[in-house]
Amino acid sequence: MIEADGITVRAGGRALLEGVSLALRPGEVLAVVGPNGAGKSTLLRALAGDQAVAAGQVRVEGRALRAWRPGELARRRAVVSQQVALGFPMRAAEVVALARLPWHTTAQAGRDAAAIALAMEQAGVAHLAGRAYRTLSGGERQRVQVARALAQLDGAAAPAALLLDEPTASLDAGHRGQLLRLLRRLAAQGVAVLVVLHDLNEAAFVADRVAMLIDGRLAVLGGVAEALEPGLLQDAYGLPFRSVAGGGLLPDFGAAGR
């Protein structure tokens, strides 16, 4: 669906990403993990087309990202950024409704109201529809943005892609679980899901494959057991991790640093 082929991103003379190659496949959840500053968000922004690459290429369905019309691209990939602040006050449902912009010239425009309602239902924010966005908590806003991305992909010809940058950051445990299960369901429907996560246990639960970035390089890309291996994690985070019963991972915060 979306491929990065040896992409390098530079800013201020520093390489934020260095020769990263990976392919996001339809029907999988690919979790991107790594320490702060490893280039996770930069990778997501490069795959979304926000971030120009200095070397390498991003391709969507085999075609160079830059060759796509933005509107065409918007009908098959949606992005949930870390934080979205509004220019002017709007209600939650109005924010979600903006997702239907790429569809207004298509035959799918008639689905707008249904798509918005369904997306808000799926993201668990239907009850917030009439609330002013700026009065919502951080977690509620994040879920409204997820609903917006879902509404944007409603009607997309397969395969569609959903890119999320730390979507669980402001969520409580219950809502984290809801969101992660939603991502699994989307993948089961054939959506290609790429999600940047901090919590390795969330990655272990949700991901089919995990990409670990360290200092802008792809340190490992593989199955959960392969990528979230305690020795590798200790190298990446400078902390010992131990596996706990049920497949979880616990960092030992009391251990000395690197």
């Binding site: 922004r45 979304a48 087309g49 926000d50 019309r69 933005p70 509107g71 065409e72 691209l73 918007a74 009908r75 990939r77 949606a78 992005v79 950024s81 979205v84 602040a85 509004l86 220019g87 002017f88 006050p89 709007m90 209600r91 449902a93 109005e94 924010v95 409704a97 903006l98 997702a99 912009l101 790429p102 207004h104 109201a113 249904a114 918005i116 309602a117 808000m120 239907a126 009850h127 529809a129 009439g130 700026r134 944007q152």
Partner: protein, 356 residues
């Protein structure tokens, strides 16, 4: 669909209501604008004048004075106010949407500062260069200079604000501040060189007035203000996407850099063409979009046409006040819009600070 969703979502009723409401308000203001003033005109006089102008019925003798007041003075003035106000309102709404800044107004993009510099330049230089052509000067030369100056300043600001092909909002804003400061300094230099009569002309130009409106100017204003205003209204969807931010707008399929450039050019043309004939008129572009948002929300499909219609309405009414309050003298219309707009601006500032 849940009840809450239908209640807030399509706002279909608002969209249906906002255009007729705006048109009705503008029509009422324009009617008041032609009928009221130091010389009172009766509705019968207006009706007889319209019939006469359309060649349907000859003008009765008792309405000859009404027809003269209407035809020569009031009608072009009210039409000019409606057009210029509409351009200021729409340009203000578009700039606030583009910069995602509620305190943005058309002055921010350098257009007013540049227009003022060129107009002042024309006034000062006309003393020596165009002294013989004072009539042409007032009617066309000054507006042409102001128009070119306004567009030139915006072009300079856009050029300075674009780094590596990307016109970042913060960079654009700072470039606008710099261009305005430069234009202000050069204007000051010209004022310093001007004689007393010119200083008086300059002062009145920078405070704005619709008294110089002529029929001959209206077709030009109708095209150069009217078309960009309509085109800005057509940018409502991209401006809506920009409410979420530039990256999100791109994710929604908007060509952000193209939209920014087009909106800047349209706003600059709409404002420069208006102020070229009337002089600077502040606060309409700032305040009017907020009034529309207070009533109908942030959706630009409502805000853009609403701001155009309400901008026209408010400038027609402000001009009516300007020529009525101190009759037979006239207040500069910019003084009236600022007197009405500044308190609202302060209230807005304080209520936002309270909400944040």
């Amino acid at each position: 669909m849940s009840v809450a969703l239908t209640a807030v979502l399509p706002r279909a009723r608002a969209r249906v209501a906002v255009l007729p409401l705006g048109v009705a308000l503008l029509a009422a203001a324009m009617l008041a604008g032609v009928l009221l003033g130091p010389a009172h005109v009766s509705a019968a006089g207006l009706w007889a004048s319209i019939l006469d102008a359309l060649g349907i019925a000859p003008l009765p003798a008792e309405h000859v004075r009404d027809a003269a007041v209407l035809g020569v003075v009031r009608a072009p003035r009210v039409l000019m106010a409606a057009l210029v106000g509409a351009g200021l309102g729409a340009a203000g709404a578009a700039m606030q949407g583009l910069f995602r800044n509620p305190l943005a107004d058309p002055g921010l993009i350098g257009v007013s500062g540049g227009a003022a510099l060129a107009a002042v330049g024309a006034i000062v230089l006309s003393g020596s260069l165009f002294g013989a052509a004072a009539g042409v000067m007032g009617l066309w030369l000054l507006p042409a200079a102001a128009f070119v100056g306004g567009l030139g300043a915006t072009a300079l600001m856009a050029r300075l604000g674009t780094v590596q092909g990307v016109a970042g909002v913060a960079t654009l804003l700072l470039a606008g501040v710099a261009v305005n400061a430069l234009a202000g300094a050069l204007t000051g230099l010209l004022v310093f060189m001007a004689d007393d009569r010119q200083v008086r002309d300059i002062t009145f130009w920078t405070l704005g007035s619709l008294a110089g409106s002529r029929w001959a100017q209206l077709p030009v204003v109708a095209v150069l203000v009217g078309l960009p205003t309509l085109a800005l209204c057509a940018l409502a969807r991209p401006l809506n996407a920009l409410l979420l931010g530039e990256a999100e707008a791109f994710h929604l399929g908007i060509r952000v850099e193209v939209v920014k450039r087009v909106a800047l050019v349209l706003a600059a043309v709409a404002v420069a063409s208006g102020v070229a004939f009337t002089g600077l008129i502040g606060f309409v572009g700032l305040v009017v979009p907020h009034l529309v948002r207070l009533g109908f929300g942030a959706d630009h499909r409502l805000v853009m046409p609403g701001a155009a219609l309400l901008g026209g309405t408010l400038l027609v009414l402000a001009d009516l006040l300007a020529r009525s309050l101190a009759a037979p003298a006239e207040l500069p219309v910019g003084v009236v819009t600022a007197l009405l707009g500044a308190p609202f601006f302060l209230w807005l500032l304080r209520s936002r600070a309270g909400a944040a």
